[in-house]
Amino acid sequence: MDENTIICRCSDVTLKEIRELISQGYQTFDEIKRITRAGMGPCQGKTCGYLIMREIANATGKNMQDIKFQTNRPPVVGVKLGLIAEEGRNEE
């Protein structure tokens, strides 16, 4: 049933994929993100973030407090590159 359980709605990553990666030793959010793109879609990890951290905690026996959350970087939503370039030109 894990293959029908969606963890990352933006990139359609399933619980099965997450559990397989954790069992292969990918036990940080950022590693899982780089492989699956979980957390890189429009919601920037707001659906999958805690679900993946909880999976890592359960598999490793660690507390949630000891699991590193994903690195947050700007922008929080999509911005057209043209707009960024335009604002850059305004500064010149």
Partner: protein, 360 residues
Amino acid sequence: MKQAEIVVIGGGPAGLCAAMSAAKSGAGVLIIDRNKSLGGQLVKQTHMFFGSEKQYASTRGIDIPEILLKELAKYKDKVEIKTNSTAVGFYEDGVITVLEKEDKYYKVEPKAVVVATGAYEKFLSFPNNDLPGIYGAGAVQTLMNVHGVKPGNRVLMVGAGNIGLIVSYQLMQAGVKVAAILDAAPKIGGYLVHASKIRRMGVPILTSHTVKEAIGKDFLEKAVVCKVDEKFNPIPGTEITFDVDVMCISVGLTPLNELLAMRGCRMKYVPQLSGLVPVRDENYETTVENIFVAGDASGVEEASAAMVEGYLAGLCAAAKIGYKPDDFYERRKDYMNQLNNLRSGPAARHILAGLDQIRR
């Protein structure tokens, strides 16, 4: 680059009160909010608030923004409001980038910032959790109370906290049948006054139950739930199937504060505050100077506390950049007392335990 004295990110209860408080002290304030109108989540709260009179108890949530905005209008020469505007970045040099209506992008350089960005809904993992008909409780409230759209005909509510209980009642008011409310915890999380109201209307509240799976081809048709043991493991043979076309996930909120994390504020995972929160002092200043936080972004609580935190953070942010009114200590003490009173009940014990972990 746009200059601003104080930028308040988020125009919900915390942000509006922060802006008001800072402007009252004489600071110029820029409010940035991604929605088309201010008020945050208050705009969908059709129920009357609890708490004390100072935070508008017995007033319906939807009526509070108007009261706050009227109050804010007194300082209109000090306050600039940018709606439909998302703060998309918060950089190490203190610059904030703003995206307005997807077609305008600019930088703001503030002297101080109050981040009052609120919270977002947690999600659950179970088979077929991506079927249409499965909503967050906030989405259901937006559909019904903001847009007047019925989400479906028969609902299974997942989560017996206050939001789950209140939204269940609102669904029934809208003529939608609520099949049952379940919660994985052995006890109802929300206020008993809400739960009793629901029970009197004949809706079962199943504690120690969780969702086993959702069933449906193109949309949700059935939901299977089962009992869990004290370690939250499903107990085989306890399955119950409900014919529902809506499942409403109301398993709690978590602070929305990625802007603080990317700015470099020290963050900590505190379960009692529902997730990752910034470490801050008693003035709500984070570990980065002149960056303040207020409301659910600093730990999930409720709107009354968010408003008082906003007043306090706005007052202290203004004072930090030179707008320290004569009655500063008096006002600060008043807000701190109000917060202590709001957190004096047994329901707030976990909040106090959480706050102990983030005080710097």
